[in-house]
Symmetry: C2
Subunit: 248 residues, 2 copies
DNA sequence: CGGTCTTTTGACTAAATTCAATAGGCGTGG
DNA sequence: CCACGCCTATTGAATTTAGTCAAAAGACCG
């Protein structure tokens, strides 16, 4: 999906260079100076490649580190009290996994690779120690957490109010925007997750997801080939996501 | 709803005493020693009473402070891109408003009093400065933020998966549990918000909320008198919230 | 090449929304 | 104190959306 060189040969342990990383302008250490960035890079350890389906974080295990997605993608899942699995987020490169466990002892979610992926591990104690001396880093951490709260709020609005069509359109636009932010094309990308995952995330049956994709394709809003999506008519999708067929 | 003495006569400015506050064991400064608590209390300023409908925080205004609910209750609302209002949370005493703006310049939500209420204002710069010297306070702040992330995740599961009946049962049980945590009865409380607010929060039409309340009452699960609710059969409600009528 | 998992599509069903009309509460002002 | 009006809540009937069940087609892996 992204920087394929990254997960074919791992960089030497403890020597991940943030400067060389294409994500540097969107990643957690956003806003650090070059010297600060070097100190930040120094705490990254055990760079980890993961294969499709592998767990980066297991719900219920102790919290020790945050993980930044360097390449590939992940889903964040919660197993609820009835032992059903719910997808609560999808993570793209430069996004941070584990924030919901900061300040807690235990991870409340699992994080699963959707494809061959690569993460930078940030041991939280080191991160804390470093951010004592780098206020910008602390600020970045706060920003990440509150951004996640915002995202959850937008999602709440979507799930509690929008029709299936609006949810789907919003989802596609959100993915598009996030790809664009990271320097990829907003018009075409891989959806590494299954229809069932999308359905779980959006609160729809997987059949509904499939039907909507087909409907959008018939209307020439998108083109689909398996998990590869092209957005053909962004304005129309935006119209769907905003006004589209208002309920309530 | 809670400590009525508190919002009839305001305590003297700058002299809110956390020690005297009944919420002390659930509030943000949880885990501070007596000496630390005193230093914490010293940064609380401009204690503010609010009347029903008054805005504590207005979406789009600059972030300066966190607010702890001391008495009364609030709703957190987002106005989305289509200018529709969505209730994203309800705040009870000892809960913190403004966390989604930490690390941001601007509030992304409004917070509105549901009844006569009282808040402790924590100017964020003071809080930050103090938490540099009190690691326990920083930890408490992290904990608050990640707890909010957890809550959002549970909500995501509820909204994306549960039937109207399960949502309603879960909502009532959540309110009950939160009242209980704060030393009030889990079996009876005021719902200070309107049916429309509950509907907006749960992603249901207000008519559906009303119908479900009636249905629950007919089944002797609850008793309603206006906005006063009694939970008559907690186990049955829990069964509804957990298994109740499984979809998907 | 066979088997399994994922996706698509159709027909039917059920749940929740919408529209509409009524009833209940609350505060204001006569 | 009662009457009026406004806002909130309740209840019913019809509609619509999305879910469930089922079957077939396609993709992927060994």
């Amino acid at each position: 999906m992204t920087d394929h060189s990254a997960h074919q040969a791992s960089p030497p342990t403890g020597q991940l260079q943030c400067q060389g990383c294409s994500l540097c302008t969107h990643c957690l250490p956003l806003g650090l100076g070059p010297e600060e960035l070097k100190r930040f890079a120094a705490i990254i350890d055990r760079p980890r490649p993961l294969k499709r389906g592998e767990l980066l974080v297991r719900q219920g295990t102790p919290f020790t580190s945050l993980y930044v997605v360097r390449s590939g993608s992940f889903k964040q899942v919660v197993v609820d009290s009835g032992y059903r699995e719910h997808v609560t987020h999808f993570l793209l490169p430069s996004e941070v996994a584990g924030l919901d466990a900061v300040g807690e002892a235990i991870h409340a979610t699992s994080v699963v690779a959707l494809e061959s992926s690569f993460v930078c591990e940030l041991p939280f104690t080191s991160l804390e120690a470093l951010s004592d001396r780098l206020p910008a880093l602390r600020g970045a951490l706060y920003r990440c957490m509150s951004q996640e709260l915002h995202r959850d709020q937008r999602l709440h609005c979507l799930l509690s109010f929008a029709t299936a069509e609006r949810r789907m359109a919003s989802f596609l636009l959100d993915m598009s925007a996030r790809h664009a932010e990271r320097g990829y094309s907003p018009f075409g990308f891989q959806l590494a997750m299954s229809r069932a995952d999308i359905g779980s995330f959006l609160g729809l049956a997987l059949e509904t997801v499939s039907r909507l994709m087909s409907r959008f394709q018939r209307r020439r809003l998108i083109a689909i080939e398996g998990r590869e999506v092209s957005l053909l008519d962004l304005p129309a999708l935006e119209a769907l996501a905003e006004q589209g067929d208002t309920r309530r």
